[in-house]
């Protein structure tokens, strides 16, 4: 019955190997749960945009190309987005702390009704420029999957970081300091 035993061993070995492989892959999937949703981040030139201000005044239009030489924080938000409210304080603080270092915070309104957006902006306590991306061309160019999402652009016009979900002051300030210090060298 040697062949019988050999068949058994081969078969059980095959089963064990297959199960180990399956477990490894699925275990990986479990461990990397959120990653699949947030999309890739690759350093690339920041997509340029020309967006009108929320207040519809000509001088409120923001041209990203003109902000070369500055660190720009591009924050996508909407008035219907509950989570956007929770990061508002962080954005305000970032603006207050870093505006004198030449950092510009720009709020980009995404898929929103103009009236609701203006009302939100009026009560947000932020004084940084706010623009409206009415045809979502900027959102598509940046690769938005939802709001809030925040991008950091370095003075050379490259995207250097991306935050999906509400951003904290600590995260922003760390990244901004990082970029600023590289620029000094």
């Amino acid at each position: 019955m040697a062949t019988r035993r050999r068949t058994q061993v081969w078969a059980m070995g095959a089963v064990a190997v297959a199960v180990v492989m399956v477990t490894t892959v699925l275990g990986f999937g479990l461990g990397h749960r959120g990653a699949l949703a947030s999309g890739q981040f690759v350093q690339r030139p920041a997509p340029t945009f020309v967006l009108p201000g929320l207040d519809r005044r000509a001088e409120s239009t923001v041209r990203l190309a003109k902000l070369r030489g500055h660190v720009v924080v591009v924050n996508f938000w909407a008035s219907w987005c509950a989570e956007c409210r929770s990061e508002q304080a962080a954005l305000n603080r970032t603006w207050q702390r870093f505006r004198d270092s030449g950092v510009v915070v720009v709020g980009v309104n995404f898929q929103d009704a103009a009236g609701d957006a203006r009302q939100y902006a009026a009560t947000s306590g932020g004084s940084y420029p706010v623009v409206s991306d009415s045809d979502s061309s900027a959102a598509l160019a940046y690769g938005i999957r939802g709001v809030p999402e925040t991008y950091v652009v370095d003075p050379k016009g490259r995207l250097v970081d991306r935050f999906v979900g509400p951003v904290t002051y600590a995260q922003l300030s760390r990244r901004i300091n990082d970029v600023l210090s590289k620029g000094d060298r």
Binding site: L36, G39, P47, S136, G143
Partner: protein, 170 residues
Amino acid sequence: MTRRRWNAVDAVVVVALMAALVALATVALADRSARPTADEQAHDIAASLHCPVCKDLSAADSPAPLARQMRAQIRERLADGAGPAEIRQEFVASYGTSVLMSPPDHGWGRAVNLAPLALLAGAALVGAGVLRRGLRSPTPGGPNGESLQLDDESRRRLEDALAQLSREEP
């Protein structure tokens, strides 16, 4: 056993089959030579891209506003003269390769694209192997492998009974 002779019904069926083949060929030719309209092209491109804010719907199917913007953008770019591959690449630049609804045709993506064919071929080979082994097997034996010996009369009665069962039972 005698072969049945061909009759009129057989001829009709053969003619119908030939007509069907001709019809299929015609459709295939018409399909191949038809140039897609701008709308159809836009739809095809949108159908090959995920709607980024939806779960598993394509940009063509999704009612979400972002998907509508994508469709509008695709139409604009087509009007500008950009080709489908270029337009897709622009979205990939923003969203990564996972925005494509099918894996790209290089690297691992190519393996994934070729896998179904390989799986089907593999399964067919296994099936063919099973059939061959079954055909080559000796006469049916008993449960412990012994062979059953039947005299001709019993064999004939057994075959008749089996044929009867075949006709009536699943």
